[in-house]
């Protein structure tokens, strides 16, 4: 038997020291993941509140659940290539896989229930880079911050007692986030269009275009429709899928087009506040035409497995410091992970 190197007390002290290092790292790891800090807003919380509002629909997106896939191409006229070196803006064409949707987490909702529609696009550049963008048919975002968005979802959840949102909760939300009044004012006078084809879709968040000389330009973008606006007809109000039916009917007659209009910020415009529209007199550049030619039912369409993460950007387009962008990216990823798993189970996974 070897003579012990330490007394019992020394040994205990050393063992404690040995345990301290991994225990400290494990605590730090748990804290990093948000487990030790239940107050912290996480991607999981954002997704679960959306799920509470829209109901559970395994295999579907947690928001903008009802939609349809579209394919086509973007024909660039080269005008935006001075601001951005992304190859999508060089003269030429880029294939596009997109998705029209309505807001909300219920894939069975009637189309007229959601006055705000969305268009998401994936541009596949020849160099392997992609530009993904999720745009909405409203001029600005309801709130300026991630916390504001989360609190809005919580404040508008139906009260279990009445089945309706509690007006007191909404009132206290508005006091805390008064910027939403602007959005309410817009929503009040907004007349929903009769077609996805005649809506204007806006990036809402600001981004940065990076040119050949590495200069940044703060921008937002919009898809401006060629199709003429018409309000929803009485006949359409009786059709829960009128948007999809209208889209198919229009595409059977020919492609649908939008101009990609880039708005360049002035020095006084902020990239951090998506709840404020930039003044109408800002410089705009028509970068080219989006041409959509085919619609495919989403469940079997090419857009179903695409996560339209607004931070998947090619060289030449970069994130701004808008705090909503990271939150959208994190929440979309969470929703994507959940639904791809559910879809795989529903399909009886081949693997």
């Amino acid at each position: 038997m070897r003579k012990p190197l330490f007394t019992t007390r020394q040994l205990i002290a050393r063992l404690a020291l040995i345990a301290a290092a991994p225990v400290a790292l494990i605590m730090l790891f748990l804290w990093g993941g948000g487990w030790l800090d239940p107050q912290r807003l996480t991607a999981g919380k954002l997704v679960s509140v959306l799920q509470q509002a829209g109901g559970e629909h395994p295999g579907y997106r947690r928001n903008h659940a009802k939609g349809v896939c579209v394919t086509g191409r973007f024909i660039s006229n080269g005008n935006a290539s001075e601001l951005s070196r992304a190859s999508v803006f060089a003269l030429g064409e880029t294939p596009v896989t997109g998705r029209f949707a309505i807001a909300g987490g219920n894939p069975m909702a009637p189309d007229y229930a959601a006055p705000v529609r969305s268009l998401a696009l994936e541009f596949k550049q020849a160099d392997g880079a992609q530009w993904r963008t999720g745009m909405n048919a409203m001029p600005f975002f309801p709130v300026a911050s991630v916390e504001g968005f989360y609190e809005l979802q919580v404040a508008t959840l139906p009260d279990p007692a009445t089945g309706k949102p509690n007006p007191k909760k909404l009132e206290s939300f508005v006091r805390k986030h008064p910027e939403i009044n602007q959005f309410f004012a817009w929503a009040k006078q907004n007349v929903p269009s009769s077609s996805w084809a005649s809506d204007r879709y806006n990036s809402l968040n600001a981004f940065r275009f990076v040119d050949d000389a590495d200069n940044d330009h703060l921008v937002r973008w919009s898809m401006v429709p060629h199709a003429e606006f018409q309000p929803i007809s009485e006949q359409q109000k009786n059709d829960v899928d009128f948007l999809q039916n209208d889209l198919e009917q229009r595409l059977s007659q020919g492609p649908l087009k939008w101009d990609l209009v880039v708005t360049v910020a002035s020095a006084q415009d902020s990239g951090r506040d998506a709840s404020k529209a930039w003044p109408a007199n800002r410089q705009t550049i028509n970068a080219g035409t989006l041409v959509l030619t085919e619609a495919i039912e989403q469940k079997h369409g090419p857009c179903n497995d695409i996560n339209y993460d607004p931070l998947i950007l090619p060289d030449g387009i970069a994130s701004s410091d808008d705090p909503l962008l990271s939150a959208r990216s994190a929440a979309y990823a969470k929703s994507y992970n959940l639904r791809t798993r559910e879809q795989s189970r529903q399909a009886g996974a081949r693997l």
């Binding site: 040995i18 790891f29 993941g33 999981g44 992609q130 410091d321 990271s326 990216s329 791809t340």
Partner: protein, 180 residues
Amino acid sequence: MKQVAYFHPVLRCVHWLMATAILIMLFIGVVMVSTVSSLHHLLIAIHKPLGIMILVLVIVRLWLRFVTDTPPLPDSLPGWQRAMAHLSHWALYAMMLAQPLIGWAMLSAAGYPAALGGTLILPPIAPVDNDWYAILRPLHSVVALALFFTVMLHLAAALFHALVLRDGVFESMTGSGDDD
């Protein structure tokens, strides 16, 4: 085989470089998937190139491990500890190699470009496929947790050798000595 007391100096250097990189990587991973702050974007931008760096380093390291002499474990070590040491080392190598590949394949299956920054984009190594993604994405988390757990065990064992056993095992990786 030559009897050596230390790992090859380059191997020692790669070990500590990887130890730092992997710990940083595990923390980046756990924070980036949970946070909704602007850290999310920054951490994702670091995660991918750092993961590829770890993949390159582990390949270099495995090659060095096979071509250089390694110090034997001391005779004083009981058989079960010897077995644990070997098992945990090969588990660590396997996970260090598999984890970046799973991450890369997972991006491929989702149709995401494996962008390392600037114009550098890696080619896909798996088909764009929902079922593959549905397996690879949770697997990436499971391996991350298993790797973190094994690294913690490895750290505790190393400290045990350094502070209690004092049998030269810890020094074989930290020592500045050169056998040549």
